[in-house]
Symmetry: C2
Subunit: 513 residues, 2 copies
């Protein structure tokens, strides 16, 4: 057995962060580049992003949003308009100060070097997010209540200078979508903010097989400039939290700073109520940490670049052609006659001229949901040997080919359901209700402590104090329909564990990425 | 008739550049932003780009290419590696020199201002194109001939600081795709370069209804660092040329500069032969200038965001509901039962609460291929009133609804064919064969002079001299199968019009965007 036919080293237990890097490497998803903090997303990783994009885009369009594109560079003066926002992003902005290069000869080495020249009167920042530049366009577009609501989405790259980058989860440049909408009333803007929040929750669950806790961020954790930030929080296998997507109600903060005003139905001038919301390539990091195992990547079927891989088993030269033909025919049948959630099944036949065991392990590590082997004997018997990524690599089942063709959609759905169930059970087993200060303090010295659910009525300062002390944050104040079990919710007292004040508010505390 | 129900002012004849701006404005495609030279692409314009993207992407994938994503920022040292390349882009590079902002109080005004801080040891340029950063990745990925060919495409934004920006045609930031491939041999790389060249020609013709002249660029006009640049050249209605797409054979220039080397079949080390190729949002500018008329935008059906718009005619309140229901039913039938080149028909019902004439003119100006009106009387008679964007706005034809449903695909194809034929006839009428120096010199003082086709055996210096003298360029040396008419080709002598030297090479000269 060659090195590449073994499990990922180290295991999750041994060293989770290093395991994560090795899963990405073994699946050929992405790699670091020489541009500080920026990654190269390789085809197998980018394929996941393309599927996330397509599927989310359909949902955005079905809910009335249109795509547009706005400039990458934001004039500094735009950023300055909303003070809280500017402060929030100031420490991580890449700044463009020059617009050309000049070749100069190094007197010592004799080599030609390029140096920046053509200094700009006003520098630009590369968008860390686009509220300010999209707001400037909205101010031009919105005149009357008839121009509202304005429902825009942008697919784009953004840049936040990260000091501790980590592939997919935290990179200086990342890909995302950012929705930006403007509304006549606060009520309508809140409906939009909540609708997208729900859309994200569903998307994570139904497409990525990740159960998230939807809730509201506390004031301390809000998006800079927002009146309300809703979040969906995922727990991954080291029991840390990942903020997987956010939806913000921005009130009239940005519209006042940027003059997004309109003539209302009664003829008076008013400022629009705006929202913004986004998910990013961070979703890929989240799904890796949520589902993958010590054998490598495990892909949720809906976002698997290939859902089925067919491996021809060709021990003898004289039957090789027939086996290959049989594999290609099966692939074609699956592609053209079977669908999963409305999309044709994505199938690959691995015709590479390498050893069969190596092929199998490549696809295990790449996380393909279903592996099929067809050999010379299977052609006559019309059987296939099926292996599933949600089962041990040694498990296999033999099925009639026709039966497999009929059932492939069900099997993919079953794999999705298993991933979702496992992740839900894991999460639920790692959220503990806590009503007691001493218990709370003691909890965070445990290894991989998971999350605590507490009653909460503390101030922002008290929240910050506890957060700093234990390197934790309030991940969210879960909404009542958050999917937390009744048993768990019943264990939470009606008084804040810290202040003793009566409280209907519950909070989830945890470490996070 | 309100101002918006009239033709575009000025007409093409009166002022072509201003007409172009007004077509874009009337169709709501894009607008300038306060970021110098950068545009905002509005939903109606971005929709065209999404369709171009989808349809090209399918072709790239069908020919074995995979998408990936590389960093936006390129270390200066990377750019310096290929001297000719660096020089070619030096004057238009946006340079990132700092990675944070600091708030300082202006002593005079008392206001807080943000200033750049955190100077970078090595500045970065925003990619003007990605040969150098993708080459660095290829150098890591390619070890052996088994790793070749490497066929990668990237959809991305790029930035070239333009001094005279023009919406879509020349903007500081633009969206594009850039293919980058590496091959074992020169022959294979040339096959790739030519295959993509052919793919672009077909795409322009079959999707955008634009007949292009495919050919090779002269050395003067090549991509910086390339051994061969192939181009597809479109003629637009002011008879200027637009370079609509290019495919470059880069030889071993970049692979030597960046060490993209591999162990060959015979065990020796060699450098890969690389190619790169791209089209951009410039295609949108090209199609506007190629097809639009004095009434506004004319969209080729395959890239029309909406191919059919249905306008309910509701003179009386009591029949309004029935008319609306009939319109929605027709839209649903078209969407679910009819396709055009494999994609569902894109239909919109215009339910806005504005006057019918206004609606009609909005869709004329937005270039929608087919407009349908349905009124109360049409419901009983099961008729529709159809208008086509390739015909005068006053022309209409009444059809049985069933017949329209059956024929919609043919009508769209017929509109496409008409646009292509018109553009081809226009182009062919404006290319003149020229074998005489005096004639050549005299030609360029004409208004909208079109293109000249000449025999050519001059040097690069002679080419430059003629180019500067008349503000023209050799658009390309057309390939024999370029689609130029036999009559035209027969008019070209076997000796260069300028040097008198015998020559088999022909050249197309023209002004360009």
């Amino acid at each position: 057995m060659s090195a590449s036919q073994t499990a990922i080293q180290p295991t999750r237990e041994q060293d989770f962060p290093e395991w994560y890097q090795q899963v990405i490497k073994a699946a050929d998803l992405a790699e670091n580049s020489e541009t500080r903090g920026c990654m190269v997303i390789k085809p197998w990783g980018y394929g996941i992003w393309e599927l996330i994009q397509q599927q989310l885009d359909r949902r955005f369009k079905a809910t009335g949003h249109e795509n547009a594109y706005f400039p990458l560079l934001i004039p500094l003066s735009y950023l300055e308009k909303e003070a809280e926002h500017a402060e929030g992003f100031a420490t991580e902005c890449a700044v463009v100060t020059h617009h050309r290069l000049e070749a100069v000869k190094d007197e010592v080495t004799g080599k030609t070097k390029m140096i920046p020249t053509g200094e700009l009167a006003e520098p630009y920042v590369i968008r860390p997010t686009s509220e300010t530049i999209i707001g400037a366009a909205f101010a031009r577009w919105v005149q009357s209540y008839r121009d509202l609501p304005l429902l825009i989405n942008q697919w784009a790259n953004v840049m936040r200078w990260e000091m501790r980058p980590r592939l997919f989860l935290r990179t200086a440049e990342f890909l995302w979508q950012e929705g930006h909408t403007a509304h006549e009333t606060k009520a309508e803007a809140i409906v939009e903010t909540r609708m997208i929040h729900g859309l994200y929750e569903e998307f994570l669950r139904d497409h990525l097989a990740i159960p998230v806790i939807p809730g509201e961020k506390t004031e301390n954790e809000r998006f800079p400039g927002a009146d309300m930030t809703l979040t969906v929080e995922a727990m991954v296998q080291d029991r840390k939290a990942i903020q997987a997507g956010t939806s913000h109600y921005l009130g009239q903060n940005f519209s006042k700073a940027q003059d997004i005003s309109f003539t209302g139905r009664d003829g008076t001038q008013d400022f629009a109520h705006t929202t913004s919301w986004g998910v990013s390539t961070r979703l890929i990091g989240t799904l890796i940490m949520a589902h993958s195992d010590d054998d490598g990547l495990v892909l949720p079927p809906r976002v698997a670049t290939k859902q089925v891989v067919i491996i021809p088993v060709t021990p003898k030269e004289d039957t090789k052609e027939a086996v290959l033909a049989s594999c290609q025919a099966l692939a074609e049948t699956l592609r053209t006659t079977r669908t999963f959630h409305g999309d044709p099944i994505r199938v690959n036949v691995d015709t590479r001229d390498i050893q069969g065991g190596q092929k199998k392990w490549d696809w295990v590590k790449k996380g393909t949901p279903i592996r099929i082997e067809i050999g010379p004997r299977d052609i006559e018997s019309r059987k296939v040997c099926m292996q599933r990524r949600d089962q041990a690599p040694t498990e296999k089942s033999f099925m009639d080919k026709e039966e497999f063709i009929q059932k492939v959609t069900d099997i993919l759905q079953n794999i999705h359901d298993n991933l979702l169930n496992n992740a839900t059970q894991f999460r639920d087993a790692n959220i503990i209700a806590c009503n007691d200060v001493a218990e709370f303090h003691a909890h965070w010295s445990k290894e991989n402590p998971g999350w605590l659910l507490t009653p909460w009525a503390g101030t922002s300062d008290e929240e910050e104090q506890l957060s700093k002390q234990h390197k934790i944050t309030i991940r969210c104040l879960p909404i009542p329909e958050a999917g937390l079990s009744k048993e768990l919710l019943e264990k939470v007292d009606g008084a804040c564990f810290f202040t003793g004040k009566p409280s209907q508010t519950i909070a989830i505390w945890g470490r996070s990425y």
